[in-house]
Subunit: 597 residues, 2 copies
């Protein structure tokens, strides 16, 4: 049944709402698709709900096509499973928590790994039951510190989340790739350009992870890509590691007085004066900067680490956060910041501005009160045989010609410094350039983190209990609607891709004659009989300008105007995307539109 | 695509789960339709979700058919609108409350009157926009003190709630009747027997209200009905009011000493001894019992009322709770209980056991410390001219022949006493009998309670602002699934009505021969090509007994067994409802099944 604008629960707005920041948010509000109920919490009006359901249907079809089975979990969940995996603590302020009348703790789930794991544990017991992929399309909750951009970062939102269960790594790989393929098909059907981007697994744990980013200037995610097809989010970019250098003939390192050189700039200037280079000058890239960072662990403890990086590169704390986990004894999300004076006071061996490597290895310096061995990590560019100008761990002194692997060692390497445009892609596909995107989906080869924590084991082929390996895969459904609006609009309004438009045709009766409304109603009925969904603007006393304005604002792909041309037997058919309009004989109008679907 | 039991995410249970109380709960758990996530909170497995979606689809179609438009509100809502209507307070422990990271109060909505009212206020401004009916199918939350019976009384559940908006009472009546009709069609399509039962509006407010009760012995709602078609819940039953009696010739009332007669029984015995009746004996029905009740108001105050009722009838506190509102100055849900000693102490004029009417009217008794005029209400049977034996407001004394309307008055009448089987139906359709039912739906002609509180006004035909009148209508979707299971099962398992069954046909391959599995797979494919949904039990190593047991447990209407008969060219087709099985030639099987749909 056609949506008649005379009765449709809709009110379009002429002006941009004051609190809407981005185009998609403004237009979805102005076109009456959504309304705000609370910060980051939205109500779906009839047209918005139609778009939402179409997105859901496409996602559902592609999940079913890879054999995933739909289930539906509650949003209100008990605390206990999230305590077992420590996420009850790790999520901090990021989730909504509440108590029931008996004082039992609950949360509004941000994601359901624990519950799916427990459900499979409840139902399954043998490798013969695997592989299994199950999913849901369901309300999720996150208490975002700064909900923004309407549906793009909401506090109540709809996600499709799925979980795969396999007996071994090969199975997980197949499940992961099946989801990856399904995701690419989903975004293609939605008409949403996405780039799969290598990502770090972060707090989710696991071995492999990719984000599906929709390139958009308003995106919150920064990523880099090369002309040759490499793409990764900034946290996940890996450095091209230089080859080791033979240091057999390298001269011995030499400590020099370098008073008043606590910064890299002053050090470089001093070096060029004290010990000019044979060719060219010393630059910041020849110095090794040792940075002390404080890691706030999920346990509430605070641990210091020292990271040695080339002096020309700034430390990127988000990259440290994403990559430090492998070097810590415990898992979970950590906070990273520069060590402050209170931190440094506990380590008398740290000489600010003159910190060098080897510090933690120098037994003579250990044992000072409150002191303990500090973890020392280096940038991957610090390979054996590289030669550095760096601090001598003594005020006013630096050491020149210090050779990595000969004069100092390290506990491990870490991707800790900024990625720059022009850096080489790790796969050799050319220099990197930066871009911004909206995260539309994220897939994780989780491995055994959750199944181990929650003891999900099944009998394997040999009759022995084996821990199941898992994947977790999410698509933001409400966010997809926003991203579609963000990338499909002009200054007049929305321009929906055909697959998700709230209707196929927007019929506008222009003018006042009864014959116009009769012809428009007849065309509406014919189009519907032919299987198309129609919005019919049958409002009797609304001006043509307002009607056309609303049609362009609502953004249905084809606009069919029945008006003055009717006396000559023609109607106007306009393509909302191209703006092209044609006069078509009344009798041919339905066929003309059907041919374009 | 057929649901193949070799891969379907399903595990059936042989034994009844220990914590399941009612048949529907046991069977939905055993058949793998749902799993418990927390008390009163359930997860839907693939088969359960299919039933749920079919129920939703039927509800949606019938709502759309009456022109209601679907929207979708958040479940997480800000406190403020619920404060305006006082429901934030009135709900007490019955709702889930929480705070966000900024300390703002939220609730998980149990119902959405406030939000729909505000949304219409946001969008609409004229009587021309009305009538409007909008609805949603959405998660609801109630923190039940005793979640029970699985899906029948859950804490997270799915409801269809709709709201109508009209400019006048005639409009509201039309919207109410449209919903009423839609509800009857919904339950008919679901195959769910329901009785529309007159109900009190309770805390929802409003003028008219009906519950749709599904008769079931495990139902929580008691109602009464007559053979002639009357039905009402016990709170809403009205008494057949006798005609006034001419008291012109009635003798004067007489106070008598009746020591040691503080109860009705002792009073009746004393009356028969002291002043024997001309014909027959005095019975409890001839006495007027005056009961002091304490009303706990939503404001936290406590008010006493005295209710005069025939001595043979007990006071029904739930009926008082439902009906006292009309006599109180403020709205909202109240608690009612017998007055306790502390209450009574504040009213020196109350003589326990000898309380009579007229007390509050006796000016001489008023003005005692802490005393105030008590509201005096009577049962509708106390009409002018009726004659009573009742307390004389003095210890050890009763008054005989006290005539209502001559010797005492009252502030109002109230339905306060128990309804008994055998009482006449108020519409003259015969004696009442008691029954139990499950509340499947509830419709309310709300009137202007919410629109007044939230200031929803539109311009009327005369260009003046008029308060909109509203209706509110709910159907429990998850509860409908449970009620269907409760009323459609035998000792072997579930027996789904065709419209909501998870599939139309359950094909069972019985035996081990490859030809059996080939034939079963071919039939499955043919049935699906013909448009039927099929569960195919293709498990290779499961015994026939287990397969048939599972088929009967799952409850799909038609079971098609391919087994030993195949050598003779026949398959067995069994009707799950009747239990009738027939051997049908293989070639005719699909047509045979299609003819039965």
């Amino acid at each position: 049944m056609a949506l008649r604008l005379s009765t449709l629960f809709l009110r379009t707005l002429r002006e941009d709402p004051v609190d809407a920041e981005v185009d998609s948010h403004k237009l979805l509000l102005r076109a009456g698709y959504i309304r705000r109920a609370a910060p980051g919490i939205y109500t779906w009006l009839p047209l918005g709900l139609r778009v939402l359901r179409k997105v859901e249907a496409i996602v559902r079809e592609e999940m079913d096509a890879i054999g995933a089975q739909e289930v539906h979990f509650p949003a209100l969940l008990p605390k206990e499973p999230y305590e077992v995996t420590n996420r009850w603590v790790e999520y901090g302020d990021g989730i909504f928590r509440l108590q029931d009348r008996k004082g039992a703790d609950y949360l509004l789930a941000p994601t359901h790994e624990e519950m799916f794991t427990l459900l499979v544990k409840d139902l399954y017991s043998s490798y013969k039951d695997l592989p299994l992929s199950i999913y849901q399309i369901q309300n999720k909750y996150r208490d975002e510190a700064r909900p923004r951009a309407g549906l793009l970062r909401g506090r109540e939102f709809i996600m499709k989340d799925s979980y795969s269960f396999d007996i071994d790594d090969a199975g997980l790989d197949a499940s992961y790739m099946a989801h990856r393929g399904a995701y690419l098909r989903i975004f293609e059907r939605l008409g949403l350009d996405v780039i799969p981007v290598a990502a770090t697994a972060g707090a989710m744990g696991g071995s492999r992870s990719e984000e599906f980013l929709h390139p958009a200037s308003i995106g919150e995610d920064t990523f880099v890509r090369s002309a040759g097809g490499y793409a990764a989010n900034v946290e996940a970019v890996t450095t091209v590691v230089p080859e080791d250098i033979d240091f057999t003939n390298a001269p011995a390192a030499e400590v020099r007085d370098t008073p008043d050189t606590p910064t890299i700039d002053t050090l470089v200037a001093a070096a060029n004066e004290l010990a000019p280079r044979a060719e060219g000058s010393w630059t910041a890239a020849d110095t090794l900067k040792n940075v002390v960072l404080a890691i706030d662990l999920p346990t509430g403890e605070r641990q210091l680490v020292v990271i040695g990086v080339p002096g020309d590169r700034a430390v990127d704390l988000k990259r440290v956060e994403a990559n430090i986990g492998a070097h810590l004894a415990i898992g979970g999300e950590v906070g990273v910041e520069a060590a402050n004076d209170v931190d440094l006071k506990k380590h008398a061996e740290i000489v600010k501005g003159y910190l060098g490597p080897g510090l933690a290895l120098d037994a003579a310096l250990l044992g000072a009160e409150g002191s303990s061995k500090l973890l020392y990590l280096v940038d991957p560019r610090v390979v054996s045989g590289t030669t550095w100008i760096t601090g001598a761990n003594e005020a006013g002194k630096h050491v020149f010609g210090l050779v990595a692997g000969r004069d100092f060692g390290w506990d491990g390497t870490i991707e800790a410094v900024e990625v720059r445009e022009g850096d080489p892609a790790p796969d050799g596909s050319g220099p990197l350039e930066a871009a911004r995107g909206i995260e539309m989906g994220h897939i994780f080869a989780l491995g055994r983190k959750y199944s181990e924590a929650l003891d999900l084991k099944v009998l394997d082929r040999n009759g022995k209990l084996a821990v199941v390996t898992m994947g977790s895969y999410g698509i933001g459904i409400t966010r997809a609607v926003a991203a579609l609006a963000e990338s499909n609009h002009d200054d007049k309004g929305l321009i929906w891709p055909a697959n998700v438009a709230p209707a196929h045709v927007h019929v506008v009766a222009v003018g006042r004659g009864a014959e116009i409304f009769e012809a428009a109603a007849a065309l509406t009925a014919e189009l519907e009989t032919a299987g198309l969904e129609v919005i019919y603007d049958d409002r009797p006393k609304v001006s043509p300008g307002v009607k056309f304005g609303d049609a362009e604002l609502l953004g249905v792909p084809t606009i069919l105007a029945v008006g003055r041309g009717l006396v000559d037997g023609v109607v106007e058919i306009k393509d909302r995307t191209t703006g092209n309009a044609e006069n078509v004989p009344l009798a041919d109008a339905v066929k003309y539109i059907l041919d374009r679907q």
